[in-house]
Each structure stands twice: as structure tokens, then as C-alpha cells.
Amino acid sequence: MGRENSKNVWVFIEVYDNKIRNVSLELLGQGRVIADQLGEKLVGVVIGDNIAGLANEVIAYGAETAIVVSGNEYKDYSTDGFANALTALVKKYAPSVLLIGATRNGKDLAPRVAGRLETGLIADCTDIEVNSEDRLVEWTKPAGNMMSTSICPDSSPQMGTVRSNVFKKPAPDYNRAGEIVAEDIGTKADDIRTKIVEIIKTVQGETVNLEEAEIIVSGGRGMKGPENFAILKELADILGGSVGASRAAVDADWMPYAHQVGQTGKTVKPKIYLACGISGAIQHLAGMSSSDLIIAINKDPEAPIFNVADFGIVGDLFEVVPLLTKEFRRIKNG
């Protein structure tokens, strides 16, 4: 779509288990910043079934307008249904910017929509700003060992996906006034070519929610083998945290992929990130360098992880970690 007359910053509000995903709320926060820089409005788009209650939340988190598309055909996420509804809305209202959370479903939807609209899409952005001169959105993300900033100068909307934990969730204000617009966009049953027939909850132990963990104890190739992750688990348990891993550890099958931190894993922002036997490759840093406190244990004094660590111990993790656990256990038991 062309750029003429396009206006307003849109956030696709993803609903999962009848709740708005955190990443969508975080995007309302940054969307507000961008909308103010452009002097435009912030709009949240909610698609689902029985979701009327969520519109107020979209406004509380900073939008002027919530557009709500509801219908039984949107009860479950489907590429065809959601792409149809979202592109129809974009064609009707012509937003200038469209932000989508880089979740599994968000990354399924965004490229399909950008393809249909023949517009650019930048994946997994870590920063989004407006250039005051040309008023274009600048999308920044890691690219190899560098960072790149891209623009989408000729087509509209300017689209990007963003992971959770990149931006801060704003504080909601439930007294904010806003407009709720119901849009009726039907999708014919036949046009939805996929159907969820079964949902199998992940078994094997607890689900990992690294994105929300306040403390993460992560291990890398220095852990030497899968069995040694038990010492990290013990430390994490004492601290009430979760266990993360580098890609080297995941590739070696020492830990499941859901634990991977970094460019191709999770982006995390805990209060404390403890890296054990992790060298600190740029792709790993891309997923954890905005943690409040970074602590590194590595026997190589030259390991790049020490360049970002607030507190580094040059030493053998197999000595240090058990001692740490012992010390914290002592503190905990008073």
C-alpha cells in the first residue's frame, strides 16, 4: 500500500487464553511514544471471540482507540482468519505503523499480512524510534555481530515485530477515556483452511517462563554435560529463579530449546542473570544484556561475557556454584 494519507500507530493485540499477552501491552507503551512523536493516535486492534472486556484494557494501557473484531470464527487463532481481518482493517483505515509481538502466532501472522499488503516487515526489533527529520520509523535489531537500523520509506504501513521484554509495560490507567469501535469483518468458514484439532499441554515437568523470571541461572558449554545442569537448578531453586542455557548447550541436547537465551532463543530481562560457563557471544548477549544485574562465572579471564558483567568471577564453576548455593541456603535459613 502507498504511504499517502496513512495515519496512526497500530498495535495488534494478541489474545491468548482469554488474556492480552504481555508483549502487546509492552507495545502499547512504545506505540504511545511513537504516536506522540508523530503527532498521531495510538490504536489497539483486538481480534477474537468474547473479547469485549479487553477493549477497556487497551485504552487503559495508552490507546485512544480500540478496534474490536469479534466472532466465533476468531475463537482460535488461524492464519487465514486473522490475516483476513487485519488486512481488511488496514485497507479501511490506512495506519502508518503496525506493531506485532514476535510470538509464535505473531510471527505467523505478520509476514502473511505484510506480504498481502506488499509492505516491508522487520523482524525481532530491539528498538523503534521516529526520525524527526523525515518522520520515518527507524527499526533497530541485531544483525550478525553488528546492529542494523532499517526503514521502510515507500510503502505502508511500516511494520515490525518485537519480542517480549524489549519494552517496558506501561502502568495502566483505568480512568483514561477512549473510543471503542466494533468492526464487523466476517470470514467465511471455508476461507479458513486450518483447524486446531487438539491441544497437548507440554508434559515433562514444569513449563519454563524465562521471560517472566526475576532470576535466571544460565549454563553454557562450560557445564560439560546435561547431568551438571542439576547444580544450576539447585541454585535457581534456592533463589526462586529459573534455569537458562546458551545455544551451545541446547544444540548439544543438554537442555530443551525452551530454555535457550539469545538471538534465536528468548529475550530476557531478569533482575539477576547469572551466566555459568558461557563465553558471551554476541548472539547470546542479544538476549540478556538488558538484565538489571549480570553476573558471570567463567574460567577464561578473556571471555567476552566479562565485558558486560557487573560482577565477574574468574574461576571454575564446579567449585563456585555449589559454594554459592550453600551460602544462599545458609542466608535463607537465617
Partner: protein
């Protein structure tokens, strides 16, 4: 059952070395490999073929040396391999890349099932698959960890963070494949020898009927890279060296309690 697998040749991440002085990656000597997720896609395609018959074609778009990636796929068991290569394809964003692949697929044949890797580990966008599906006008499913045929549909196990969805997808369909529980098979030695002897026809832009050159490569890209820069450095803090583990741990615990982090 006609299956197409699209693969990309990428630099081997294991070969990429980190230079801690300049804090940059040394890429120069990096060898090229078939994108790991694309190999899982090929493995799934070969398993489906073994069970249900049919033909597996592998397509890549890339520089002339990408033929090595195709030969590896042939050695793993692909029936046909196709290389699309032209300087006009170079430097495209996912919109331009998906347009070129769409045109190349149209020229290559008709397929019931098209498999992609979930993402290419060099760019990591995970966008090309869905964008090709859009251009072809077929149904899609992303992040599959398993596929089974069911008449005119496929059953796809799709990974979510906290569950697995089983979804039924009407064919023709494009499915992107994540890490599988099994590793891709090794190349077969005889097929490896045969692969080396293959004379590959190369599809150039001119071979693709009705192609619009303005939509290819850098010219056809909606996204323009404005600048590249070194990542901001987060200053290093305290570093405890040449201390006993006991003392180091005590110092760390003091540090954390002073910072009120615990």
C-alpha cells in the same frame, strides 16, 4: 504426492570465531552449510515420501556455490534439485526474496506440500515461508515438529511455548519446520558420488516467465538498511581474579546484598 523443500545455504555458525579484541566475529573463513531447520524440513519430506510415495524436489535461490547445498540434499535422498541464481535476486528483503522464490516455484512444478525451515539462521526472520505461502495463495502452518497425511489434508504438530497444537491444514499447503526429535539422516555415499556428477541447470531471472525485475533484489525491497553499527557496550564491572572460590563467593554475596538484589 509432490513435495518441494526450499533450502538456504548459510555460513556455519560453529566456524564463526569471536575476536575478543575487536569484539567482532571473524567470518572470512566460515564454511557454508545447509540451514539446519531446512535439513529438518528435508528429513520430514523424505519420511513422508518413504511412507506415501511421490517425489521430493529441493529448490534454493542463491549464488552459484549454493549448488553444494543442493548436492548435499540430493545425497540425503532428494529426487530433484533446482538452483535459481541471478545477480538480480541479490540483496533482497523477505518481500523480494519471496517474490523470486514464488516465480521459481511456479516454473519448477505443482506441489501438494511445500516445506520450509522455520527460519534461516543467518537472518533469522522466519518471514520467507509465510510470504511465499501468501503469494502462492496456499494455506500455511509454521513451526511444525511433525507432519502426517490425512487424505487431502495434513496434520501438523505445531509448537507453542506451553503446548503443542495439532492442526489440520488443507492441501496444497506450505509448512515451516522447527527442530525435530530426530536428527536429519546422513548423506548416502553412493548418492554423494552421483551428486558430484550432476550437471545442474541454473534458472536465471530471464527464464522466469512474466517476472517483474523491479520487484527483485535490492530494488524490489521495501526495507532499506539505513546504518550498521557496533552494539553499545555495557561497561564491565567488578572482576574477581586469582581468589579462592570461597572468597569470590563471599564477595559476590556481599555485592548482591549491598545492591539489595537479594
Amino acid at each position: 504426492m509432490n513435495i518441494l523443500v526450499c533450502v538456504k545455504q548459510v555460513p556455519d555458525p560453529v566456524e564463526i570465531k569471536f575476536n575478543s579484541e575487536t569484539a567482532s566475529l571473524i567470518r572470512a573463513c566460515a564454511a557454508n552449510i545447509v540451514n539446519p531447520f531446512d535439513k529438518y524440513a528435508l528429513e520430514l519430506a523424505l519420511q513422508l515420501k518413504e511412507k506415501h510415495g511421490g517425489e521430493v524436489t529441493v529448490l534454493t535461490m542463491g549464488p552459484p556455490q549454493a549448488v553444494d547445498a543442493l548436492k548435499e540434499c540430493y545425497a540425503m535422498g532428494a529426487d530433484k534439485i533446482v538452483l535459481a541464481s541471478d545477480s538480480l535476486f541479490e540483496g533482497g528483503d523477505t518481500l523480494a526474496t519471496s517474490y523470486a522464490l514464488f516465480c521459481a516455484i511456479k516454473k519448477t512444478g505443482e506441489f501438494d506440500l511445500i516445506l520450509y525451515g522455520k527460519q534461516a539462521i543467518d537472518g533469522n526472520t522466519a518471514q520467507v515461508g509465510p510470504q511465499v505461502a501468501e503469494r502462492l495463495g496456499v494455506a500455511q502452518a509454521t513451526c511444525a515438529t511433525g507432519i502426517e497425511l490425512a487424505d487431502d489434508k495434513v496434520l501438523v504438530a505445531r509448537e507453542q511455548d506451553d503446548c503443542q497444537e495439532i492442526i489440520e491444514v488443507k492441501m496444497p499447503a506450505l509448512v515451516t519446520v522447527a527442530k525435530l526429535a530426530v536428527e536429519p539422516r546422513n548423506p548416502n555415499i553412493r548418492r554423494k558420488i552421483a551428486a558430484n556428477k550432476i550437471e545442474m541447470p541454473v534458472i536465471s531471472a530471464a527464464d522466469l516467465e512474466g517476472i517483474d525485475a523491479a520487484r527483485l533484489g535490492l530494488t524490489g525491497s521495501a526495507v532499506k538498511v539505513k546504518k550498521m553499527f557496533a552494539p553499545p557496550v555495557r561497561g564491565a564491572g567488578i572482576k574477581i581474579e586469582n581468589e579462592t572460590a570461597d572468597n569470590a563467593v563471599k564477595a559476590l554475596v556481599d555485592y548482591l546484598s549491598n545492591a539489595k538484589a537479594i
